[in-house]
Every structure is written in structure tokens, then in C-alpha cells.
Subunit: 287 residues, 2 copies
């Protein structure tokens, strides 16, 4: 184990080069506050949420990001393709196109797609709706230089959030498109349990559009908010980073944590903890 990085020292900056703060981790911060907080902490990349961008307006958000010299590692999120009603499907289709436009305007690496849960449909038809939705969106995104990133969610979300539940399945969908147009998200919380994860990360070479990290709390206190800081659960980050590295991914590593207690903590303290845990548990021997 590497000792925690010392904030503010030159030696500690290097291993943090790849750290990106997903905005949901510091949920109480507005976008300007998050940009300032990252700047204070020496974090050069950020994962944006569309509602936070909308609060300040797209143009202003883009200007703030550019002025701060930050990289946008992802935009959360588009997707939710599972819908039978034609009118609602048209609404979501339009919203996904707006999400692509926003991603292009923000110069982000990728638009994350949360594909939608089974709902009242058969699982097979829900999965077909996802494939159809992505096929419909991909050319629009490609024309605007935006990369889509299919995020497999943990299987416990299959009924209500995402019928795409494994990295292998996400790749089955993505591989119908050029890798620069449709990639995948590797999020440790969603994929760590998968006996195939190493194999599928290797298969994902060239398609890893986003790498996100957080830990799995034991016992899981909540289906939605049971995520923890790296080191607070069983996930073996160094092994997963090794696999992602070996697959040729060298982009930002986003810390994305849904957790009530963390949201209730002053965000500067959260950022400090994120940096420390990132250096110790994610970079580890890579640091």
C-alpha cells in the first residue's frame, strides 16, 4: 500500500493526474462551486451532470469549464430507451439528442447512457428497445463528434434502471458501431462481481469511454445509495485498473459516489478524502 498523498505537494500531484470528480460525489455543490473546489484541490477533470449544467446554462457552463482549463471526462446522462408509448419515446429521443448537443458543446469525452430498466415489458423486448434506441442515436452523435458510452449497471437494477447488466452485454451492443462512436463505461461498483470482468475489459480495448470508481458497502445499506469511498468495501481497484490499463485506456478515472452521508459532509472534506483514497486504493502500486 502506498501512503496517502500529501495534498499541495509537488510529489502528490503526479498520481492525481488521472483523477476526475464526478459531480454527484459533491452533490451539494453547484457547477461553479465544483469547478472552484476542483481547482483548489488540483483536480483537472470533472464528470458533469446535465441538471447541474442546466442550472447555470449551457453556454455559461462551457465558459466556466474552459476558463478553468478543465477536462470534462463525461456527461451524465442519456438513455432510458425502454418505452413502448410512441409519444413518450419521441420525447426521450428528443431529450437524448439534446444530451448529445450538450456533450458536444461541453467538449466532453463521452455521453454516458443509462439504458433503462425492464419495466412492464418482457426482458427480451426491453433489450431490443435499447439496441434500437442506440442505433437511432448513434449517427446523430457521430455527426456531432460525440462518443456514446453504454454503462452496464449492476444486475440489481435490471428491473427499474438498466436491462444492460454486464460489460459483455454492453459490448455486444456497442460492437455494432465503430469504437470511436459507441464505447462502454467500466464502473467498478457495477462490474466488480462479474467472473468475466477481466476478460470483458480486455475485449473492451479501444471502447472504454469512461472508467468510474467507488466501493461497495457491506452490508449494502441501500440499493441506490450503497456506494462508498474506495477502501470502504471489498472492491479490488488495483486489479481492475491493471485490466483497464492493459486494454489501453489512459484517460481520466472518475470518482462517482451516491451516498447520503457523503452528501451530508462538507464537500471540501469529501474532495480531500477522495484524493487520499484515490491515491491509496485506486492508484496503489500504479502511483
Amino acid at each position: 500500500m502506498t501512503p496517502p498523498a500529501e495534498p499541495g505537494t509537488g510529489g502528490a500531484q503526479a498520481p492525481l493526474d488521472r483523477l476526475s470528480l464526478n459531480q454527484i460525489t459533491t452533490r451539494g455543490w453547484s457547477l461553479p462551486e465544483a469547478i472552484d473546489g476542483c481547482t483548489r484541490a488540483g483536480i483537472a477533470a470533472i464528470g458533469l451532470w446535465r441538471d447541474k449544467v442546466a442550472e447555470v446554462g449551457l453556454d455559461a457552463a462551457g465558459a466556466l469549464i474552459r476558463d478553468a482549463g478543465m477536462r470534462v471526462s463525461s456527461v451524465c446522462r442519456g438513455g432510458f430507451f425502454v418505452v413502448a408509448d410512441a409519444e413518450e419515446r419521441a420525447r426521450r429521443r428528443a431529450d437524448n439528442r439534446r444530451a448529445v448537443d450538450e456533450t458536444a458543446a461541453l467538449g466532453a469525452d463521452a455521453l454516458v447512457l443509462v439504458c433503462g430498466g425492464q419495466g412492464e415489458h418482457s426482458l427480451a423486448s426491453a433489450r431490443d428497445m435499447v439496441s434500437d434506441g442506440i442505433a437511432d442515436l448513434a449517427p446523430y452523435a457521430a455527426a456531432r463528434g460525440v462518443r456514446l458510452a453504454i454503462e452496464p449497471l449492476h444486475p440489481m437494477y435490471c428491473a427499474d434502471r438498466s436491462v444492460i447488466v454486464t460489460l459483455g452485454q454492453a459490448l455486444d451492443v456497442a460492437e455494432a458501431f465503430p469504437s470511436e462512436q459507441v464505447g462502454v463505461v467500466v464502473d467498478t461498483f457495477h462490474v466488480w462481481w462479474d467472473p468475466q470482468v477481466t476478460t470483458q475489459i480486455a475485449r473492451a480495448a479501444g471502447r472504454i469511454a469512461s472508467f468510474q470508481v467507488c466501493d461497495w458497502l457491506v452490508p449494502l445499506p441501500d440499493v441506490l445509495l450503497g456506494r462508498g469511498l474506495m477502501g470502504d468495501g471489498p472492491i479490488e481497484f488495483a486489479e481492475l485498473l491493471d485490466a483497464v490499463d492493459a486494454a489501453g485506456y489512459d484517460g481520466p478515472i472518475e470518482v462517482e459516489i451516491f451516498n447520503r452521508a457523503i452528501w451530508d459532509t462538507p464537500a471540501d472534506e469529501v474532495v480531500a478524502a477522495v484524493k487520499e483514497r484515490f491515491a491509496r486504493h485506486v492508484l496503489g502500486h500504479h502511483g
Copy 2:
């Protein structure tokens, strides 16, 4: 959809031939009460729990089962192989042998193995411990005519209950042994989300030692107790039963539900609901 079966009529008995009541579903009942309740309801098979058997004693339990003419579709449970401490491992090894002896004495179809969660170990080493534990137990069970049944649990239990999380992975372990010695459990709650489930059920031909059903509640109210009566969630039982049938499994179908509200309901009412939902949602077009 088939209309609900009418309890107590000759016509309703036939489709219930395959129904087995897992004791946990009527948790408030002792073993004698459960046997009486099944007899009243015309249910001819039961899945036993070792603690309920121990309450009356193994010999008395066996006599009650034989006198009632019931089939024991499974015994829950052995396993919990993930342990590094030598003394604790020896204790669990001895307990697993007792579980085999009890399964033999009860004439049950299989001993269900819940393999153990990751705990403080690396995921790879935890999975090795499972394989080693089964390799150690299998010859003992084979010598006593007991079939082991590896149960893959839902991935949300990987940290604390079972590092075996997919049917494919369970088969990878089971296939090191003859199919009559080591089989697998197909439990709809644990496997329904898996994009590979149909393929892996087909692969499991000859190794399906137990087929268990219950539904997945949405939103999941609790990680441990979020199971519901068939029809209360999204699981497509008829499709899974088709796959299991096609794989040649023609044994009992066990209804196993962990749910506080169901446990708080008078057990005879639960059994009536189980019969009705089983006929309507599980047998469906098979009935």
C-alpha cells in the same frame, strides 16, 4: 394466462404435481406444521431447512416425512467455504459433512450449497476456496448417495454470501464432477437478469438439481427480504420453466420466498396464495 386453479378440485391437482413448498416461505411453521399444511393443501413435496429439522430431531423428521409420503426436493443448506482460519474451516467442513448425512437420512434430492461471500479475501482466492471446499465435500457426498447443488446467488450477494454469482460460473465449478454428484440450483430470483440465462440453463442439462421460484419486487425493498410471490414482479417464469424443461429437468419446482410481510401472514393463507400464483404464473401455458 390460465385462470387460477380452484383448490380442492380434482382438476386443480394435476398442475400442482410439481409444486414444492420451501419451508422458509412458511417460516412460522415448525416442520410438523409444514407437513400438515402441505397435506391439507395437496402439496406433495417440500424443501427442508436444517434448523427446522433439528427442532424435531433428524430421525423424527424423517419419520414424519415418510409417514406423510412426501418428497424432499432439497435440504438447505451447506457451503460457506470461504474461510482462511484453519480451525474455523475444520468446523465448517464437519458441519458440511453433517449436512450431507442429514440429506441422506431425509432421502432428499439434493443438498443446496450457498458457497460464501468474499469477506476479507481477494475475490480470486475466495473463489478458489469454494472450488477447494466442493472438491473436498463431493466424494463424501457421493459415497452417501447425496447430490450437491451449487446455488449461484444474485451478484448483490457477492461480498457477503456467495462469490458464485452466475449459473455459468456454478457450472464451471460443477463440471469438474459427474453430474449425478454435483449439480446446480436454478433460482429465478438469482438468475433472471442474466443475459446468458437461457444458454446456461441449456448447458445445465443433466445438472439441474433444484429449480426454485419467487419474484423480484420493484423497487427492491430490502436486499435480503425483497422477494415476492410469483406475479408481483417482472420475472418471466414461463420462459424460464420452458428452458428448464427443455434441459430435461422434470422434478419439483420449489417456491422459496424471503419476505417479512409473507412471514407475518397466516401460513395457510400463504400456501393458498402460493398455489394460485404457481398455477397462474409459473405453470402458465404448461398447466
